[in-house]
Each structure stands twice: as C-alpha cells, then as structure tokens.
Symmetry: C3
Subunit: 350 residues, 3 copies
C-alpha cells in the first residue's frame, strides 16, 4: 500500500477523546434532492414542495432528514469504518437545524468508547459524529458503534470504555429543526393524509403495504451520492470472493426506503426529529424487495410548543416478506425476514 | 389493512362530478431536469440550454413538457389508478403554460365518466386532471380513462356516463405554453436540424433510427422521480406471482424515450403543445429495446401567430423491432412489436 | 433512411479546415453535478463544496473538469463519430476556464487531419473540438481522432494530412482554469489528504486500491447525461448481433471512475489542467469492476505562480484486476487487464 492512500483506522488507532476531522465538505443542492426522490419516491409534502413548506412556516422545502444523515454518515466512513466488520448500531441521533439546498456540510467525530472483543481480533469503537453547516452551526449529532479489525492481533487490549447511551432521545430535545407550524394551514389534501397526532394510539401497528425492489445500480448511485466509500457496496470483483459473494447494500438505503414506504400510513409525520436506535439485523442484497411496518411506541406532546406532537415509531423493514402479519423475528442473510429495526421520533401536527 | 393506509378508490367510489384533490405538491428543479436528461438523453435545444431558450423568447429553459405530464399524472395515481387494471387512454391533453425550474406543481382531478364493464368485475372511469403551479395558474389539462376493479362485484352498475372527447385538440387551443418565437434567431446548427414547418409533408414517415434498451433501475428511478406509486412498477416480489411475472414499465417512460428518439428527424419540433391521444398497446419489460417512428398526420398554421406551425404527429414506439419498415400492428407482451401509439401536436418554427 | 434523420458524416465528408457547429447547447446545473457525484462518488473538496471552493479562491464550487469534457465531447459525436469504428485517441486537451453551474456550453470542431486506411474501407479523421460558454468564452480545447467508415469504398483516397500533436501540453499552458489558491487556507482535513506537491516524486506509483463495478443502468445514465448519442452504448438489441454481443461502455465513463478512485492517493490534486493523451486500450462491459493506479511522470512548478504545482500523471484503469502489482499490459475485450491509459496534468497546492 502506498503511503499516499488511506488505509483507514484499525482498532488500535482509536483513542478516547480523539477528534476525527472528516474530509470532503459537501454542498447539498436541489440536484441531490431530485436524486433522493428518484431513489426512494418519497412523498412527504414538506420536503417535496417549496409551496407547501412555506405554507407551514419553512422558508423553503428543507432537505430530507435522512439525506442529511447519509451525507454526514458518509463523511465519517473513511476515518471510522473503512476497516469495519459491521456497523452495529446508532443512538442519540438528533436533528438540530433544518438544512436547505445551497448549504455546505462537514463532519467531525469524537471517539467516546472502545472495547476489545474477547476473540482478540476485533473491537468495538463508539464515536459521536456531528454535522455542521458552512456557518459552523450544528445540524446533526449522533452516536454510532462499529466493529473494527485490529491491525495486530497481539497488541494488548486497552481498558474498555463503553459510553452510557440514552435508550431514547428525551422529548425535551426534539423539535429544534422544525419551525413553529401554523397547523391551521396544514392542507390534508396536499399532505396526503387526514391523520394527525391525536389519531395515532400507542401500540398501533401500521402495515405500509407497498414493496420496493432494489437494483444494484440504485444502491450504488445512492451510496456514491452520499460519498460513502465503504468498499463492500461497490466492488463485485472483491465481494464475489467474500462472505456473501455479493455486494452488500448500505444499511442507510434500507432506512430511506422504509421511511418512504411509511408515507402510506404516516403521511403527516413530516419530520424525523431524532433516531433513538437502529439495527441492521440482516443484510440486503440487490433483487430483494423491501417492505415495512411500524408500531407507535409513544406519543408525546412537546414542551413549549403546541403545534406538533412527537410519535415514537418503531419501523421494521423486511426483505421479500409482506408485513400484513407484522413480522418481528430477525432475518437471516438472503432469506425473507426482517432486515432493519429502527426506533425514531417523528413530528406530526396536532 | 390499517385504517391509516390508502386503499385507493374502487369503481364504486367514483361519482360523476367528484373532485379529487391530489397529494404531494412538487417543486420542479434543475435537479429534476438533469435526471430527465440522464434518463432519456433528450436533445431539444430549447429545453437543454438557457442560452438557446433565451435567444428564442423564453426567460430561461422551460421544463420538458413530458416531465410536467409525468409529475401531474403521478399525483393522480393514488386517487385514480391505485386499483387500476389498465391505463386505457389519454385525450384532450393541453399544455397551457411553460413551467420553469423552481415552480411548485399540484394537481386536481374531476370524475367525468364511469361505465361498468359487462363482466361486473371492473369498470371504466374517466377523469379530467389539471395541473397548477404555486400561483394556481393552470399548466396542464388532460383526460384519461382507466379500468378499475370493483370493491364488491355484487354492487349494482351505475348509470353509464361516457364523456365526449375530441379526436384531436383543435389548433386554436395550441401554443399557449410557448412565447412568440423570433424565428430569425433560431439557430439551426445549435438546434441540430435544418428542417422547419414547411419541410414536413402530411403523410411523411420518419424512422427515428436509434434504439434504447431499458434497465429496471432506470424505469424505477424515473417513475419514483414522478412520485408515481403504482405498485406494478416497483415490486418484483409481488409481480413474480403476477400476470407477466415481471415488473411493468410505466407507460410514460416509453413516451419519453420515443420523444427523445424523435429528435433524430424532428429536431426543431421543440414543444409538445397537446396530446390528442395515446395508447399503450403492449407492455414493456426491462431488457427491451425501444425504437420509434413517426408519421405526419396534419400540418397547420396557428391562428394569430406566424412564428410557429403545428405538426400533428403519430409516433409509434416498438420493442425489439427497428422501424425501417414503419410497423403498425399492435404488439403482444414480451414480443417484438408496437408498444405505444401516440398522437400529438408539436410546434415547430415556420 | 428519411432525409430528415442525421446519417452522420462518413470519411469522405470530412474536409481539412471544415468547421462543424455542433448541436444542443447545454446549461450545466447543480443537478448535473449531483448526478456526477452519484455516478462516480468523486470526493475532491473543491468540486464538492462551495464552502471549500470559496476558501481557496473560487467564487463557488466549479463543475468537475471531466463532466465538462464529457458534455463537450458528447456534442461532437453526431457530427464526428456517429459512424466511427473506434475512438482512437485524445491530445492537447486544455481546460481554459472554470465552469460554474448555470453556464451554458456549446461546441465547435474543426477538421485538422484525415488519412485513409490501407484497407480502403475506413480512414482516420482528426478534429480539434472547442467548448464555449454562453459568453463565447472558450472553456475547453482538445484534439481527438477517430476511425470512420467510408460511405463508398471505391471513392479515391484523399491526400493524407496528419497533424503534429504535442506529446504533452506545455506547463506554460496550464492553470488558466484555476484561480490563485491561497494555500495557507487549504485545509488538509477537509481536503482529505496531507500530501502536497513536494510530497510526490517522479516515478512514484500509487495503487488507488478501491474497485467499482459498473452496471448497465449507470453507464447509460451517464452517457445520456452527456447527451452522447453513440449507438453502441444504448442498444442491446442491435449490439447482441455486434462484435461483442454487448453494449460498449463509453470510454469517458472509465476516465471518470479512474479519476474518482484516484482521490485515494491524489486527494489534493484538485484540478485536471490538461489531458496529454488517452487511449481506451480495451472495451469495458457492464459487470466489470474498475480499478486504477497512477504513476507520477513529471512534477513541475508553473511559471508566474507559486501557489500550485503540476503533476503529470499516468493513470491506468483495469477491469477485474487489482492494481497492487501496477499492471501495464494492454487488456483484451472481456478479460482482466488494462482498459484505459490516460496521461494528464493535475494541479496540486505547493
């Protein structure tokens, strides 16, 4: 390997408190928004139209929350997970400001935990990644943890540090990225749903009904759009000799499909305010068809604002398995079953 | 099915005079334009370059007419054709204003006809769909009719209402979406064709020569870009048990391919002023190669303007069948043959 | 063939000094930029973010150099290479001005050479193609030569004219498209590389490590985005009876993949100032995985500016062959091996 190329960090390279200044700032444009629509077919009115966004208090249509997440996540890959065996989980993900086309984003991560695995070959690294705009205003903040290879299996295990992470983002921390919504102007015909905060009950389950088959070209376009360089998504020549013999689809691609499908049943849940946790419980491969269903875990008013409430939603996405029966069991690679288990807070007009 | 998800309308749900206010307004951007170019490779100079558009009287490059059509059409799908068996035809489609990047579009339909089929299982529904911009100015108006399933086969047949539809849009209704063209500035080198209105004769046939193979990822990207949610286009898992065992390609995708191919022979026919009728005579599947040819049905000057004339063009698109012999017979699913029969008015400098 | 369609030029049609005014001017937008990112995953900071570009002297992020090249190249195809058997080479390609989203480009070529092949069936045509913006300012200038079919094999061979072409663009001609870079503000964390001009040595070889598999949908989207109409890229129905039985991938697609991969090792080489030469030594087909490696051929300061230096880089791209061993032998169709041999000048901060 040339000294000029990035070998990525190995487990031993991560130190508690270490700050990773990620490369490749990125201006988000209406071009990215159009591609995001073409990739997922999302139909939430706030993100789809300036006219609707303005009618409910935004200056113009904000960029889809998950597009921001994927871009910031992608920046962290070369420094955090180039040598990752697995992307284990997310927590405490908060959307702090709306992002509009024309803004330039960059990302910084801090190492907040590390723990060697008992096999001595790998370890788990925890980082808090923060995304900022061109004015250094923070737009996103989340923790993720990944399993990373050790460079040298004989190197001694460091003292384990495992951060305490909130099981869910407190409702007091929600809503910073949404303006006050004049809900009397929320047009249910244009938004595509008559259902508001009070219409959803805790424990309610919603089958999002539709399914979407993923092609290799699609997930590659998506993952490159996010400038995510994880090798497993792009290189069939190498992967054909790998664990599955196939390219793995970026887990965030599944998140965005599930979110887009969830419009059918959650059409007014216009903004992801926080992601409490997420697990990619099985890999998705091209040719698989993604379905999704959701359960309402909590419904909470927000302090100091009466325009919107927060629904805590657990969305499971499946591969090749319709969700009429609300499947919960973890799937297995290449088999019909659950592939994503996502726990998030969405805002919805009261 | 949860009460929160959209089951779509069945035949019994449509009432004459009923107004359907469609969801998901949409801001059209230069991102959409770029994707449209990437999907079809269209080369009409007016839509391709602000510089050319300005030189012939536009304020900037207008959005491709069919992109507007697809977006407005897509909005009507959840309310009109989610339970459609077939999209039977179009008529009286008029483009009323140019649309420029940055405009936000929405759509409303009115039910103008319904007639139960003799099998008692389905019926035909006629709607007039209108597209508007953010200022409520009408940009598009067309009729389409679809075959829709009945919810309950025992429900009584309503009194049939079949609207009278014009065989073609009258020339007096053409041209509202095009500014006056200072034709002395129409640069034939930049437009890519020396042929003007007078160069085309009624009865003239043009083989557009080129062919374009369609991939699954391409038509899925296109159809999602239009936020068209018809299930048959996206879900291989469900379609593998369906009529053809495959995903059906959105018929509008074929229209756009045929229009893009038609540049080779109709390079100065810069604007679709109206669609008189269209039939998708056979389905297209991924892997098929689309060819097209056109016949000039009429050539008409326009009242009150001497800058452009109108060519009434019948374009047939085929699958896996070059058009050197100008094929006319309807194709069959998955067989080489005609798949689209489109009758439209295009404007061209005099 | 109808008299209305473009049959393309045959060898006999090209006259020395002939000027070809190409069709379809094109406004480049942030939509094109987003698609370019989605197609290649390019990560050079100057082109990725307005914020970074401004910090180093640009008014905003310029459009990727190769995107400009592909667009201008594409315009020349209908007049130069529609009947080409092969695209033989490039030379003297200079980027003369940065292009920013919103600019409208057009192209003109001049025939500067022609030489019939000894088989009497084909000949080589040399053209100098120039790209301009909406203000008629020249943005790109390059020579390419193609092998073109004769219309009539019995037509006499013209007197051969073969232009003298520079083996490489002189350093005095480099840098016109880059502003003066205040290198003290060049942020190595954001740019993704600590390596500057002085860190590279002549003869140094860099394996860019990563590989990218190409899908049919991807190269078709790319080539249509460039409005390149060469038939071999799009028509599987015709190509299945052709030389390879498959669609050929536009050679420029490989150039862009190789350039994007080269970020890993050349992250600060932010601008292609010139292309000295390029050969597509073997065709690429969908399903192939592209790797790349580079060798530093020269390192030169630029006259009259001390902010950036120029690296002359020879990049070879391979198909299905990792570049750890720096392969050099020309590949063969469909076999693992070298497919592109590109010689260019890149600017990099001193």
């Amino acid at each position: 390997m040339s000294s000029k190329t990035n070998p990525g960090n190995f487990f031993e390279d991560f130190q508690i408190g270490q700050v990773l200044r990620h490369a490749t700032p990125r201006t988000v444009t209406t071009g990215d928004v159009a591609l995001y629509t073409a990739l997922y077919g999302s139909r939430f009115a706030v993100q789809s139209a300036d006219s609707f966004a303005k009618s409910v208090g935004y200056s113009s249509a904000p960029v889809d929350d998950l597009l921001i997440f994927h871009i910031i996540f992608g920046k962290s890959v070369p420094d955090v997970s180039l040598n990752a065996v697995a992307n284990l989980g997310y927590a405490e993900c908060r959307f702090l400001r709306p992002v509009f086309p024309g803004e330039s984003l960059y990302a910084i991560s801090e190492v907040i935990g590390r723990k060697e695995n008992s096999n001595g070959k790998t370890g788990v690294v925890y980082v808090r990644t923060r995304g900022f705009n061109q004015d250094d205003a923070e737009v996103l903040n989340f923790v993720r943890w990944v399993m990373v290879r050790k460079r040298d299996e004989t190197s001694p295990a460091p003292e384990p540090v495992v951060p305490e992470l909130a099981a869910s983002v407190p409702v007091t921390a929600l809503g910073l990225a949404a303006p006050l919504i004049p809900t009397q102007f929320w047009n249910r015909h244009l938004s595509g749903s008559p259902h508001r905060f009070d219409d959803y009950g805790v424990g309610e389950k919603i089958d999002h009904a539709d399914g979407m088959t993923v092609e290799e070209a699609e997930h590659q376009l998506a993952t490159r759009l996010y400038q995510n360089t994880a090798k497993v998504h792009f290189n069939q020549h190498a992967e054909s000799a790998g664990r599955f013999g196939r390219r793995l689809i970026y887990g965030g691609h599944v998140m965005s499909i599930a979110r887009a499908l969830s419009f059918n049943g959650l059409g007014n849940a216009f903004h992801i305010a926080a992601i409490n946790g997420g697990r990619h419980v099985a890999p998705l491969f091209a040719g698989g068809t993604v379905y999704a269903w959701s359960e309402i875990l909590e419904a909470s008013v927000l302090p100091q604002r009466a325009d919107v409430g927060a629904l805590r939603i657990r969305t499971r996405a499946t591969c090749d398995l319709p969700c009429t029966e609300f499947p919960v069991a973890d799937g297995a690679p290449g088999q019909p079953g659950v592939i994503l288990d996502l726990d998030y807070w969405a805002l919805i007009p009261i």
